[in-house]
Symmetry: C2
Subunit: 252 residues, 2 copies
DNA sequence: ATACTATAATAGCTTTACTATCACAAACGC
DNA sequence: GCGTTTGTGATAGTAAAGCTATTATAGTAT
């Protein structure tokens, strides 16, 4: 795929000036990705970004109100990009199982550098999404931001995945839940493998992404498979466990 | 269960002075929970907390180095508490399926107020863990903090859950991944149901927690069930999708 | 030639995060 | 009892982060 000039549509309320349209704007996107990856979101700020770019704090504030909206912009870009890649990959695929497999492959390897949107380093952006992505919606402003439409891309992406899940089994009761879970799991297990390896079987090696892909496939197939209604699922819960017993855990 | 005086063991490096041992310390725990819930982690700070308690910023800094370590302390307390509740509930339960069901029930309803550790409001703490929990390990210091043992409680919890999973199917290839996923899913879907409902089938009603419990049970049973090796899972991926096609998505 | 746009340069203000110092009272060691 | 440690409050101050305002200027569009 040769140098492709894509401008993904991002919610206009996320920025004050469209950063994809000017030199400085594109530099902001490009270098904010590198700097957030380097410093982490908390130490990252517009002053440092300005220094790195060779511009000024005030100039950057003309594009984004604050660093959280900039993060949200980047994450939205990522979601839109993944959705775009999924749509393209699914064209002319008809076997539901293959389509689901293809979706999972996109979810995981949107990481792998495979296009050239000049100013976005997708590998690094992926690392940011893995490490900081959840902060995009874990804050007190979610509801207000949701009303502004800042999460439509994520919801659309989730819905797309959910639909492919339903193609595989129209009776599956949790298509959206599984969809969002696959999206979250992908990020979590990449992060765990690297930083908290005891939380996952995925190992941090060259083939981490392939392992995650296998993990997601395994989960998805097992869950989506028609048959076995959740009969065993109603094992009677024992509400009368004796909670007064001392089992040796520390307490004083 | 009558007024039970439990002191959960929390990693000593998380605090400068043990907050469970003094009046001010317990007030810090009690009111930080309320304030973080009220303001969110970003707006929360030690100055406001001091005002609320009727103490001073400097005094609070004598207990915790900064608000992130305080959060980590609270989250650790939650993890320890959940593990304690699981251990107790599992005593005298022997049927693997019932044990797994019991574990899931603990994962979800550690929320429900059911004990009286005087100064910890578990309902509110649960909301914090749901809303801010992932921030405990999503930062540039994870690796250093992990070396200090700040996540042993979470890893132990995960391992406990993984063991119960393995009791149900010793051949299940992803016990830890499923365990951490169940823990994360519980929080995510409670959060989604309330703030981003299109990402889940769980609805925000009085019985949200029961719905989440059902969801987790459904996932767990389906996955843990012996049999069907992931045969269909290897549906050959189509690496040669024609990515040049224009499918109508916006680009310029 | 004029008006508009994007940016740089500079300054300043408020809040957050954190440290330091001193003083005082209760509890504790002997 | 006296001295010491421990917990707290009071006050002050510094550095960084977060954000706004003002002015000047170069390039572009009309």
């Amino acid at each position: 795929m040769a140098l492709l000039s894509v401008e993904l549509k991002i919610n206009e309320k996320l920025y004050k000036t469209n950063p994809q349209r000017t030199d400085l704007g594109r530099k902001i996107l490009q270098y904010s990705i590198l700097l957030i990856d380097e410093l982490g979101l908390e130490r990252f700020n517009f002053k440092r970004l300005a220094e790195r770019i060779g511009s000024t704090e005030a100039s950057i504030y003309r594009y984004f109100e604050n660093k959280h909206l900039l993060l949200l912009y980047l994450v939205n870009w990522y979601w839109e990009w993944m959705r775009f890649r999924i749509e393209i990959k699914l064209i002319d695929m008809e076997v539901p199982a293959e389509r689901l497999k293809a979706v999972i492959s996109c979810i995981v390897d949107t990481a792998k550098r495979n296009t050239t949107i000049a100013f976005i380093d997708e590998d690094v952006l992926h690392r940011i999404v893995v490490a900081e992505g959840t902060k995009a919606y874990h804050n007190k402003l979610v509801d207000a931001q949701n009303r502004e439409g800042f999460f439509v891309s994520y919801k659309a992406l989730c819905e797309k995945v959910a639909k492919v899940i339903q193609e595989n089994n129209p009776d599956f009761p949790y298509p959206r839940s599984l969809a969002s879970n696959l999206l979250e799991m992908a990020n979590n297990h990449i992060y765990f493998a690297e930083h908290l390896p005891r939380l996952t079987e995925v190992e941090a090696k060259e083939d981490t992404l392939e392992q995650v892909e296998e993990l997601l496939c395994y989960f998805a197939w097992r869950l989506v498979q028609p048959g076995q209604p959740p009969s065993g699922a109603s094992a009677k819960s024992n509400g009368n466990v004796n909670v007064h017993q001392n089992n040796g855990l520390q307490h004083s």
